[in-house]
Each structure stands twice: as C-alpha cells, then as structure tokens.
C-alpha cells in the first residue's frame, strides 16, 4: 500500500459523470478528503475557505456552462496562494496557446483525460511532494502550527513595516515582494547553517 498523503483533493469538473470516476474511488484511501465541485465558482470558494489545509486541485479546463474557464480558475487560485498545486485534467487538445495559459497560471502539471489512474495518482503524489518539500510550504506549515494569538502579534520588522506571522503567511502565499524576500532570506540562512556545520566538522 502506497504511503498515505495528508491532503485534501478538490476536483472541479462540469461533467457530472466524472464525479463517479474510478480514480476517485481508487485514491480515496490514499488521501484525507475528496471534494467534487461541478461549478468552478464553488470549487474556488471551497479552496478559499479551506486554505489552511494542504490542498491539491484537479481542474477541468473547458467549462461549457460557466464564463469562468480553466485559466480563470488558475489565476484565482494563484491570487489566494501560489502554494496550492493545480493539476489540469483535460479532454481538450492542448496546443501552444493553451499550454502557455497553463504555464502562465502556474499549473503544476497537465494530465490528459484519457490517462490511466496511475498517471493521475503520480501527478497527485508529485504535487504532494512539493507541498512537503517546498520551503515556502514548510514555512506556511510552521506558521499555521503556532497558536492563533501569537500569529497576530508583531513578529518582525522589515524596512519601516512591522509584520505579524499572519502577514508573513499571506505574503508567502501570494509571493509578493516581501514574501519572496523572506523566502530567499530563509533559504540562504538554511544554506549558511548547513555549510557552517560542514566547515566545523
């Protein structure tokens, strides 16, 4: 049995038939939760409300019934947090223009709809690994572990601005200037510590 992933799958697809797809029945024991949404707007709302969970989004690309299309959803998720991996799952043929939209929207990967379950599960596992290993996700998780009261108190100063842990969390998720700077800072600090250790030995 494969290692269990502590993630919530959010599957958005306007084809209701896909709600019963075998891949969902197959992975249901390998993940924490699975939520299916037919409407992109509802899927988005769920992601926003549950942003503190580790979410992997599986996203249909062409929506017949909605003005929101795959790229719109990608962009909206990105605005909430760049740390949520989105796997595009599509039956459409993907040409350079469409691929460009995916790259631009930070899609994590793209899986054609005629793939077997393993391909899809692999994509999910890769996304899970990114959540585990990405320094930004690690920072996010560390902040979320702190008690809520502490998270709202001033934590550090940068330039003339004071940041609480929650501010930092939002910055990291959105990867704004401060978020990027903090990420870079922590990375070089970690590298520094690691190499220092080597020298001392």
């Amino acid at each position: 049995m494969a290692e269990k992933m502590n993630i919530t799958i959010v599957y958005i697809d306007d084809d209701e038939k896909m709600k019963e797809d075998a891949f969902l029945d197959d992975i249901c024991d390998q993940v924490d939760e699975i939520h299916y949404f037919q409407k992109p707007s509802e899927g988005l709302a769920f992601v926003k409300e549950n942003i503190d969970k580790d979410i992997v989004v599986i996203l249909d690309w062409k929506f017949n019934s909605s003005t929101l299309q795959g790229d719109d959803v990608l962009r909206d998720i990105d605005e909430v947090s760049v740390l949520v991996p989105v796997i595009v799952f599509t039956g459409a043929s993907i040409d350079a223009t469409e691929a460009n939209k995916m790259f631009k929207g930070n899609a994590f990967s793209c899986v054609p709809k005629d793939s077997d379950t393993d391909t899809l599960v692999n994509a999910i596992r890769n996304a899970y690994n990114r959540i585990q290993n990405d320094i930004r996700s690690v920072m996010e998780k560390w902040i979320l572990k702190q008690n809520p009261e502490k998270r709202n108190k001033p934590y550090m100063r940068s330039g003339d601005k004071v940041y609480t842990l929650n501010d930092i969390l939002v910055s990291i998720r959105r990867q704004d200037e401060f978020g990027k700077e903090t990420t870079r800072g922590i990375l070089s600090l970690a590298t520094e510590l690691f190499t220092n250790n080597m020298r001392e030995k």
Binding site: D15, E16, K17, M18, E20, D21, A22, F23, D25, D26, K39, S41, K62, N64, S65, S66, T67, L68, D72, R75, D76, E79, G91, A92, S93, T97, P112, K113, D114, S115, D116, T117, D118, L120
Partner: protein
Amino acid sequence: MENNNPSILHFKFDVSTFRLLGRELITDRITALFELVKNCYDANAEKVDITFESLNPLSDKSRIIIRDDGLGMTFEDIRDKWMVIGTSSKRRKKTSPEPYNRVVAGKKGVGRFAVDKLGGKLVMRTKKKGASVWHCLETDWTKYSEEEDRQLKLNFDENQEEQKLFTDIDNKYWTEPGDENVQGTILEISSLNDVWLERDVIRAYRELSKIVKPTLNVKYPFGIKFHVPEYKAYDDRPVESLVLAKATLSYTLNYRFDADKKKYYQEFLEENKGRLIVKEKEAEIFGPIGFTIYYYDQEGKKNFTKEDRIDGIKVYRDGIIATPFAEYKASRDEQKDLFGIDKRRWSGFFERLSTRDIIGWVDIKDELNPEIKDSTNRQDFVDTKEWSSLKDFVINQIHQIELYLKHQKDDRKKENAERLKKADTDIDDIKRKINRIKQQSFFASPEVESELNDITARLGEIKQNVSASTKDYERMEEDKRQQENIMFSLVSLQAYAGQISHILRISIGIIKRSAEFVAKWIPLGQKQDKSVKHARRIFDEMNNLSKAMNFMLSYAEDDSTFEYFDIRNAIKELFDDRYHYLFEEEDIKAEYVVEDDFELSYNKKAFQDMFGNLIDNSVKALRNTQDKRINCSVYRENENLVMLFSDNGPGIPEENRDRIFDVFYTTTADLGGAGLGLYIVRTRLNSIKGTISLEPNVFKPTGATFKIVIPLMH
C-alpha cells in the same frame, strides 16, 4: 553658484529646445490641434469649442481659440506643472479625476509645445471653479525663435554672456476678473503660421471625430464644436463620431417605470417578417437596462482605424465602465468576449454576427440591477442567474438583428431577380410599341423605317442577353444554395469532429480507469461494490462510444442517399415497429398524428435517428412519471413541415433551456446519457436548414415539447 564648484556641472537648455521637442513629437498642425483637444478631454471637459478666425488670408486678426469647460488650473498648477517641461501628471495617473475616470489620452506632457506648430503666440486663460480670477499667461514663441536666430548668427568666439537660455526668456503673467462659477481653459493662438484652407479644416474635423469614441462613457459626454465663420459648412458644427454616424444599423433600447403597476418595462428588438420592431415587455429578472447597439457591414467598417476598432459589447454601471477587463487589448484573443458572442457555434459563418461587427453597451445601475455583481477579481461578473439571463437577453437581441439582416439579404436577392424579369417584359413592351409605330406610320420615310428595324433587331439581342443573365442568375443562386447546404453539413461535421475527439478522449479515459480499477481490486477480493459499479460504467461508456460512432457513420452515409420518402410511413415505422417494444416495456402511451401526407427529400434513416433521439430522451425523462405519455403531431405551416414532439415528464427547468442543445449537456448521465442526442438532432436539422426549439409544454401540468421545422423546398 556652480562656477564656485568645478566638480559639479549642470545641463542647460538651449533656446531651440522647444523646436526640437515640438519637431520630434508633433509632426503637423492637425496633430497639434489633436493633442491640445486631448488635453481638454483629460481635464474632464464636456464641451470644447474651437474657433478659427481669419484663416485666409492671414492677418493680425487670425486666431485659433480652443475653449473648454474642464477643470482649469491654479497659479501653482501653471507654475509647477504647465511651465515645467516634460511634467505629466498623466503619466503617473492613468485615468482622469473622479467621477469621470476617463482613460487619459495625452501622456507625453508636451501638448503645450503643440502650439508652436499652430502659431507663434499663445495666450492661455485658465481658472478653477470658485476662483475669482482668470490666470493669464502669454508665451511668445517668436521671442524664442528670434533669440535662436540671433544666436545662430553669432560666431562661436563672440561674447557668450549675451546668449540667453531657454529658461531665461520671460513669459508674461497677469490676472483678469472672472465669474466664480465658471471653470475651464482658453487657449488663444495668434501669429498663425499657415493659411487654413477649407480642406485643412475638414481634415482637422475628421481627425477630431476620432476622439469622440463610440465606446465613450455616455454619462459624461465629450463634445467638440467647430466655429469657422469663413467656411459655412463647418461653422457652428458639432464634431460627430464618424464611426457612430457611419453605423449600418443602430438601436437604443430603454426602459420605463409604470407608476400604476409599479413595474419596470423593458424595450427589446424583435424581428418580424423582415422588420426589426422595438417592443416592450415586463423587465426580466436582471432588472431594466439601457442597451445600445451599432452594427457595421463591410462598408461601415472601412471608417475604423486600427485603434478605433469594433469590439463588441461592454457594460457600464452608473455611467462608468464596469468591465475594464473587456477593454482594449493589443491582442484580440486576449480580449474578453463578455457575452460569449463569438462562442456561439459557427459564429462568423453565414448570418452570424461576431464581436467584429458590433459595438454596443449595456447600461446598468447599482440600484436597479443589484444582482449583476463584479467578481472579486474584477475579471468577470459573478455567475448569478441574473447575469446569465442578461447574457441571454443580449445574445437574443443580436440574434434578432441577424434574422433581420438575413431577411434583408433575401429580399435584395428577390428584388434583383424581379428587376431582371421586369427588364425582360419591358423589352417586350418596347418591341410591341415599335411594331405599332411601324404599322401605323405608313408615312414614315424609309430612313425612319430602317432605323426602327435596327432598333427592333438590337432589342432582340438585348432580350437574349437579359434572358441569359436571368438564367445565369438563377443558376448562380441555385449553386449558392447548394454550396451553403454543403457548407452547413461540413461546418457541422467539423464542429462535431472537434468535439467527438473530446468525447472519445473522456470516454476512453473513463473506461480505462474503471477497467484498471476492476482489474486491480477484484483479484484482491476488495472493494466489491465499487468494482461492480465500475464494470457497469465500462458498459455504459461503451454504449456511448458506439452511439457516437453510429452517428459518425450515418454522417458518412447520409448525404449520398437522399431519397423521397413518406413522412407518415417513416413515423409509423418508428412508433409501431422500432419503439413499440420499448413503449410497452415502459408502459408509455405513445400517439402520433400526421395531418397531411408529405414527402421529404432527405435521408430516411437520418430522419428516423433524429426522432429516435427525441424518443430516447422522453423515455428517460418519463422514468418517474405515473401516467406516461408521448405525443407527436405533424402538420404543414406555409412552406414548412412542422413536427411537435411532446412528453409529460418533469419538463426542462428554466435555467437549462438554453443549454440542452449543447454537446455533452446531459441531466441523465446516470442513465447513460452522453449529452449527444439533442446536439445531433440540431446539427442534423441545421444541415438541411431546419430548426429545433423548445416550446411551451403541451401536456399539463408538466412536460416538454419540441418543435421541429423543416423547409419543404430546400
């Protein structure tokens, strides 16, 4: 001073600076005028008056006066902004002050140098509302050029002390008393450089008409008026947007409030027998709206420049664009087609209008249309049912225009054909008349007779030509009809081929993963229930695939096997043979009435498949109905065969009514519905110029009724 500190040097501006700037950025006097008017627009002016005095010949009375009612300037504005070269607050701010929020037109901050192209002297008077004086500034560009000329004559080694810099030249400032309620800026340009001929004024007029954009925010209009006493045609003449004036069709729809009934009534367009009529009905759920639409044919489109292009329908809320994301994008593909005008199948083909053919705007109000909300990312509207019905309204209005245009085109064709026929009979008429003259005028000279004979002979030739042309014309029309038919089939087939690959990919994926599931879990003896479910799914999907395949195959066959067949028989076969068993099994009372005898030239099997799809749908819809009924009646209406097909199932909910003909749209996925049936019916019908629509249900209280119309002479 800087001389005391040799380690620091400062730039100085030579007096010719203004010429360099002007020459670089403003190429001619029309552009110069254009730049100055753009500044008025950016200052939130609603009215600009341009007066040309004594243009030809030039005298010391020659003047160009540009007067606007914009925000005006304070003394500080003049000193710190107007007099500082290159400052452009507009470069920092992309829209003009509230509440106009105009997208600023001038961005270079050099509009003031434009004056030099028009004339040597500028007197600017400007004031803000509430101020009691006009601030007046005189800039005499001739002083600059005189200084420049003087310096050019000097030798390098002559005394440099005398050399004045750009910044050394004095500009006179004074104030004049003014009315506190007035605001605006007046630029009075004299010492004009060139004579303005009438055609120069025309050019200026045409150029300025581009500023008055069709997409302009209507709540805050921007009007320009010309005053040219010398050229009467342009005296006291408002500048109209050429673009709007040249629209092939334009409609403005309003609404009104009926105080007695306490209801809003909405105007809408409806095509009726070749006329486009404005009617009124109770406002829909999205609330009353203003709707303005302009349509351009090929001729009308020629008036557009690249920037001023035709780009579909926008939404304004309380006079301010609510859809900035739908604004101009350099790449057309990135521009949002808010109403899905181009997403309609085959848009651009045949009689479909696209966003390249129309400009328009929907005016909504916060108070009247509260459910039309911007989504938080400001990229769209929230997907409410009000928004979706507003979209339907707009699309439907465009469709009415399409119907009207099509009717016009058909009428023109008819007219041409009739004209040719009339020419033919006219010639016969003339011939008869000449014969009469010949018979009656026995006194005619031999010369006249020979002339008359010649005329008769030539008329004969003309008649032959006209007859030949008439035949050619008819043949051409017939060819075109056939080509259109083929095109319809091809386009529908092409659209279908694109979608079928999508369906195949999805179906194959579903089958593959379900099969994988069964193969994985059955040997382990786990997840038994789910394995059964997925085995069933494989079977259902396979059925969908074979349906799609059969449709594809029937397409491959059908065009080659057109035949005349009897409709009554075809329907009888369906109801009494093909579906008889199923009706009995499901306990459905199925009836059909064929009022007349018809023969239709079409592929019989394709025709029956169409009905088969409708029957399949009804059977599924009726699964929870007690007293199950299906009814089909066939009758003739004008040149059309009409078939009404009804069941007494739960009916189709309002919100799904527009989607049911879309490919993949299904509410019966659980019963193996692939969402192909109605799509196939519609494509099929379209290929023979037939239509299918949803009608008010015949069975009460619930049910669904489809109306199929097939032209008998296609």
